[in-house]
Amino acid sequence: MQLFNTLKKQASFIAAVPALIWQILFLYVPLLFLLSASFFKRWPVFNVYDLTFTNIAAVITTAHFKIIGWSLIQAMTIATACLLVGYPVAYFFAVKMRRWKNFFLFFLMLPFWTNFLVQAYAWFFVLERNGLLNRFLLSLGIIREPLQILYSPFAVILVMFYCYLPFMILPLYGVLEKFDLRLIEASLDLGATSSKTFFKITLPLTMSGIRNGFLLVMVPAFGEYAIPAIMGGGRYLYVGSLISNYFLESRDPAVGSSFTTVSGCVILFIVLIISRVMASPKQIQKQER
Amino acid sequence: MIGIRLEGITKYYNGELIINNLNLTIEEGKFFALLGPSGCGKTTILRMIAGFENVDAGKIYLGDEDITHVPAYGRPIKTVFQNYALFPHMNVFDNVAYGLRIKKMSADMIEQKVLRILKAVDLEAQVNKYIQQLSGGQQQRVALARAIINEPDVLLLDEPLAALDLNLRERMLLELIDLQEKFKTTFIYVTHDQAEALTVADRMAIMNYDGEIEQVGTPKEIYEFPASSFVAQFVGSTNSIKGYISIPQNEQAVLNVAALGEIVITLPKEKRWARDGNHAVLSLRPEKIEISKKPLEGFANHFTGVVESIVYQGRWTQYKVRLKNDMRLQVFEQNEEHFPQEEIDYYDEVHLYWQKENAVLLEK
């Protein structure tokens, strides 16, 4: 009975803590496993804790870093492209559009609700050798021979751009909709040109949306597995496909753990840099808190 | 007797002493106002009475019952919040019915009571509206109805009019007084606005910045006979004149003011500290001073000075007059006359008069 009363006092702790335990148990403990698996000999580790650097050494090769580098460049390219297209579009809907806003927004987001594999698959018919794009270019006389677009790195980037675009537009739309338009008027009133106003007022004040969108696109693009597998034709390895290869194909989870650790560290580092570079101005940060 | 009694209440906030050993008795059925500057801890006292804050030391009695450790939902005390705290996901009816539904009252009964009270606060037409669709004054009334419908022994009002504009505030004040008379509930009204407090209260308490109660009394007592210079300054405006007391044998007591001269004062017997030679402050309300360009008769005190500023404020005109010791006195003159009888202008030499009973001597 006494125990019951004691527990009753802790009821809210009992209720609150599972989420945290879940996160620690299934996110941080596994990450620790990956880390330890890359530095210890036995895998899975239990009794033998021989420190070893062979696994990490096996990863630190030009081939691995070429793959990480290429995945990174690709992820950055996609995120940048999404930003360049997404920002004006989000700006248009959030600021310029008055009537039918929800209607158009609804159709903007609709593809996002479907399985992304379906979205990627739809591109087969556009990109393939007899596909829509080639036919279009041929009929315009821009090309003589159909291009091999499908199964090229370009196809991978294009389709990932397509699938990730909503992840950029949504956070941008979020900040732009809350953006106080009077600030633009005030800036114009004070004599700034509209381009100066954009770079001095609009852009800094919407930086948090840009950063969130950029990270929401870049991070998953870096580790993407399915789209390169479908659109890339297996001709090139990406971080995602190599990790999956180590764990599911080539029976080398130890090196796989090391590679996952290394590429995870790389992306974390990049994420930190980006959140620094794209930090919102100081005053806004305070407000946000 | 269902009044509230606070005994030796002490409260710390983040390790800082906010309220120290506070005692206060609020009688039943009174409209009681708790007046004090912002941040003096008056809201904290209210929240302790409501049960939202626990008490670090001391006891709270409701009637004879010790309710210090009764949780908020167990106290027959209801609150009208500063921002009303109306539930935005419910309509007016549901908001008002909330407390009754918690008590598991029958639906018929609830409907009857809610409609009756909404009629009383003149909100019958808004029964099905959501909170966002109401004006500030209407929201205020919903909050009142929601609290009163539970027939609390005590109703706490935490600056309930702060969010309203001036006209509405004055109207609501009168409505509040009506309501209190109708329901005979003890109202405890917290505010930093002395005009509001003077208007509504049967009795009021003034708190200073240190969370201490300076004076308790009726509004008239407090205004006319402030117990301290803090009270005098906080309630209404006043001129504070510093000097020392001198009581010549068998003569009128006077206050000696440097470079000005003697001011005739009354010395009530209970003010034992007021001995010959002690420093004191004289509180003189601006409206108690007669201002005139011509000499007048029949006043105990008479000084002359030069008008430095004139502010016309509709009902009255406010003058600032510089006396010969460079002290400035504030003077209010009622604008009774419709025609300028004697126009006072800048830099005019004027006479100032007041009766000795109209000034209150206070401890320095």
């Binding site: 809210s12 702790f13 609150a16 803590v17 599972p18 989420a19 945290l20 996160q23 299934f26 996110l27 941080y28 596994p30 496993f33 990956l34 899975p44 004006p88 248009f92 903007l108 987001m109 609709l110 593809p111 609700w113 399985n115 992304f116 594999l117 379906v118 979205q119 698959y121 739809a122 591109w123 018919f125 556009v126 007899n130 829509l132 675009l165 509209s194 990270l215 998953p220 580790g223 597995y225 399915a226 597998a229 995602g240 999956s244 599911l248 753990s257 995870g264 992306i267 | 409501a50 939902y73 005390i77 500063q82 109306l86 539930f87 935005p88 996901h89 407390g99 918690i102 609290a147 539970n150």
Partner: protein, 259 residues
């Protein structure tokens, strides 16, 4: 002049091109799903036979059932745990641990998936729907908790006090005041987790067992087997279903706007 050129001409043009870009492949796909020919770009007349053949695909329905089970369970779990964490945790200042939930977003999903896989294999946890639910709930939590917390912080604490003041217990206050006021965040969060779970490929790919084929895995398997009209039909059907769901959801939202 420049400004009006940008905003009057360029932005609408760019926006329309975005729509074209978004919908072109989908429209082609829908069109081809009604093509009687085995091969795209050879129109053999209108047919529904690919749809009919889908209905005779028991695997599809098993995958769909599994996916829905996993998604709904993950939604429920992450909402309940997230809500309790935010609501009950603030007394214990558990929000200090909020950044702990960010890692799932700052790391590529494949890292989480591989980590989970090694975790499960270390403890010999049989792979199956349970392990999928674990992974999806993990992802869900890191999206749901910030959403709920934002809304929770916007809640006026005096509403809780008002409710307690009016005689409601803490539990009654939670169910009558807090829960309805948090419901927009709960609906939005739940919907997001639902989509994330249905959409998720990597965690399903690594953490599924023999009994837990999901929709994503099924589609991936089909696509790996090459282009086929059946996938076109399946894709069109999924598109239609999700559009209907979104429309239903939106109209529900609009009818609630009186709130």
């Amino acid at each position: 002049m420049v400004k009006s050129l940008v905003s009057r001409v360029w932005l609408p043009v760019l926006a329309s091109f975005t729509y074209l870009f978004l919908y072109l492949p989908i429209i082609v796909l829908i069109f081809l799903s009604f093509n009687a020919s085995d091969f795209p770009f050879k129109w053999d007349g209108f047919t529904l036979k690919w749809y009919a053949s889908l209905l005779h695909e028991p695997e599809l329905f098993i995958a769909l059932k599994n996916s829905l089970l996993v998604a709904l369970t993950s939604v429920a779990l992450s909402l309940v745990m997230g809500l309790l964490f935010v609501y009950c945790g603030w007394q214990y200042r558990l929000y200090r641990f909020m950044p702990a939930f960010l890692a799932a977003v700052a790391l590529p999903e494949i890292v989480l998936a591989v980590g989970l896989l090694s975790f499960f294999s270390f403890f010999s946890v049989p792979l199956g729907l349970t392990t999928l639910i674990v992974g999806h709930t993990l992802l869900g939590l890191s999206f749901v908790i910030p959403i709920i917390r934002t809304q929770f912080l916007e809640l006026d604490y005096s509403l809780t006090e008002a409710s307690l003041d009016l005689g409601a217990s803490e539990a009654q206050t939670f169910f009558k005041i807090i829960l309805p006021l948090l419901s927009p965040a709960l609906v939005a969060g739940g919907l997001l987790v639902f989509i994330l779970s249905l959409d998720d490929f990597l965690i399903s790919f690594f953490c599924s067992g023999p009994t837990s084929q999901t929709l994503s895995l099924y589609i991936f398997g089909m696509i790996r087997l090459g282009v086929s009209p059946t996938i076109n039909a399946l894709s069109t059907m999924l598109l239609a279903i999700s559009s209907l769901l979104v429309i239903a959801f939106c109209s529900l939202n609009i009818s609630n706007r009186g709130l």
